[in-house]
Amino acid sequence: MQYQSQAVAKPYFIAAIGLFVLQILFGLIMGLQYVVGDFLFPEIPFNVARMVHTNALIIWLLMGFMGAAYYLVPEESETELFSPRLALVTFWVFLAAAVLTVAGYLLVPYATLAELTGNHLLPTMGREFLEQPTITKIGIVVVALAFIFNVGMTVLKGRKTAINLVLLLGLVGLAVLFLFSFYNPTNLVLDKYYWWWVVHLWVEGVWELILGAILAFVLIKVTGVDREVIEKWLYIIIAMALISGIIGTGHHYFWIGVPEYWQWWGSIFSALEPLPFFMMTVFAFNMVNRRRRNHPNRAAVLWALGTAVMAFLGAGVWGFLHTLSPVNYYTHGTQITAAHGHMSFYGAYVMIVLTIISYAMPLLRGRKVAASNKSQVLEMWSFWLMTVAMVFITFFLTAAGILQVHMQRVMDKPLPFMYVQDQIALFYWLREGAGLVFLIGLIVYIASFFIGNNEPEAEVVPST
């Protein structure tokens, strides 16, 4: 750690991991409800568990992004953070808002929460992923503004690198696009059209800038490859991401009541969306192969490479699988979508946050370069457990999805939804099993922070 103020990243990372655990626990509850329909009913109905699962994910990824920004921006700018105090204040505000919101979901019925928070004044609730009460949304905007102000001022007074600028651009885009969550017309088609400006343009647009910037930062640190080389690749990759991703929004506009030309525009551009992820994989492996040094933090290198591979598989391959409109006609809104959603969020965004945590946490905890060998071995075990579990979750959901599509959409005498769900229950059981393995991986991951702290730092294994 080169700058004192980088330390503010630590509470962000810890809170992120905490919310990660919450997310996985509720994921397991939902998984069980898929096969034991009345599990926890009516105390925690499925929709509540799902809100906690998805919102916790979004919040902890945002926490991770913020922590990453607070960690890497001072180092890139070669100056202390503009205001570490502001960063801590926003942290507590953000965490309090998140905890209160989740408590609201769990303690009162959703309709009561809507009433209590005055949803009728500015109705924004009750849309997928944007279920937060309006007041929480306003809180998110305030936190985001304070955060961007803080990071922006730091960049302004310090060195401006490509990584800095791309990260900042991604964060500003994130905040600006979030404003569309306040637009909720009664016209369902318009509602959906602009809802995607938040959801799609986040995950397949500006978040990719953040992802690219963090990955580039970690690769510079762990490989020692020349900054010029890494930064120009960063630009090319994010250029491809936006070029394909912006019009690629069209792949959500196939069946929601907008003109049919979106089927063509959406199919053609989203067919290119795997390209930036493919380039990212090539890039990450290339840089590691051209490394100038062997970094003692082998776990961080593993996470970085894992991100590139899993993002390509989850977002690229599994996305392409059902992105063409003639295919999507049958797969839209089935377990295929769920399969893609799981692997792409894990591969692209969960793993990049875990990458930066893996790189930064030992330094934030007072190590010079890396954690002890023992901690790292545990961490790498958790990497494999979670990643392999996620691959299996994706396989099982894909299998369930294919069967669902066949029975419910393709067969001559299509079967009703609930009947089909019973038929494919086996795969939901298997998915739940894989989910448990994921939880074990997560426990091992957390253990890696507590075990091996008394041992000496890992040293570079000289390579031949």
Partner: protein, 197 residues
């Protein structure tokens, strides 16, 4: 064609195409989009031959001819501009670039007139699948022409200030490569959409 041949030292082959390699990665991505677009056009036509043939007749082939000639000429001017800067003649290079830009303006003017004609006839993207493809493809290309012209203009401005030399003229080659790509795409687009049936 010999007059158009590049003025590199004879017999020497390069490892990389002229211009910055980054633009070539971009060009490949763009070409890929157009290739998919062309193929989808052809396959959609396969299922609606009648419709496509019927409405294809409504297009203005005279305008398209002028535009094809405009783009080819313009590309040729750009080749001359690159040749000029390779000999260090900045001001000649600027003149050729301006000439190329002029042809670009001609293209835009003719194409805009065509669009004006379509729109006043109430034709839009949702009219039928032929017009969907015709308008999408040509408009997407139209925007590329504008983009290419912005790039050429930027290059011309820098050249006018003497920003390029015999040793360092990658910028000119980069802009030129992009412009040729725009031309290349139109060369396929023209027969495919206007003529073939």
């Amino acid at each position: 064609m010999t007059a158009l041949t590049q003025t590199n030292p004879a017999g020497q082959l390069n490892r990389y195409p002229p211009g910055d390699l980054a633009i070539w990665i971009f060009i490949l991505a763009e070409l890929a989009v157009f290739a998919i677009f062309f193929a989808t056009y052809a396959f959609t036509r396969m299922n609606n031959v009648e419709l496509f043939n019927q409405f294809q007749q409504h297009l203005d082939r005279d305008a398209a001819l002028i535009n094809t000639l405009a783009l080819i000429t313009s590309s040729y001017f750009v080749v001359r501009a690159v040749a000029a800067i390779r000999e260090g003649a900045s001001q000649i290079c600027v003149r050729w670039l301006l000439a190329a830009l002029g042809m670009g303006v001609l293209f835009l003017a003719v194409k805009s007139a065509e669009y004006g004609h379509h729109f006043s006839a109430g034709i839009n993207l949702s009219t039928n699948s032929f017009y969907m493809f015709y308008l999408s493809l040509t408009f997407f290309h139209f925007m590329h022409v504008i983009m290419g012209m912005v790039i050429l203009a930027a290059v011309a401005l820098k050249a006018r200030r003497g920003g390029y030399s015999i040793e360092d003229h990658t910028g000119v080659e980069t802009g030129a490569s992009y412009w040729h790509m725009v031309d290349l795409v139109w060369l396929i687009l023209f027969p495919l959409v206007y003529v073939m049936h």
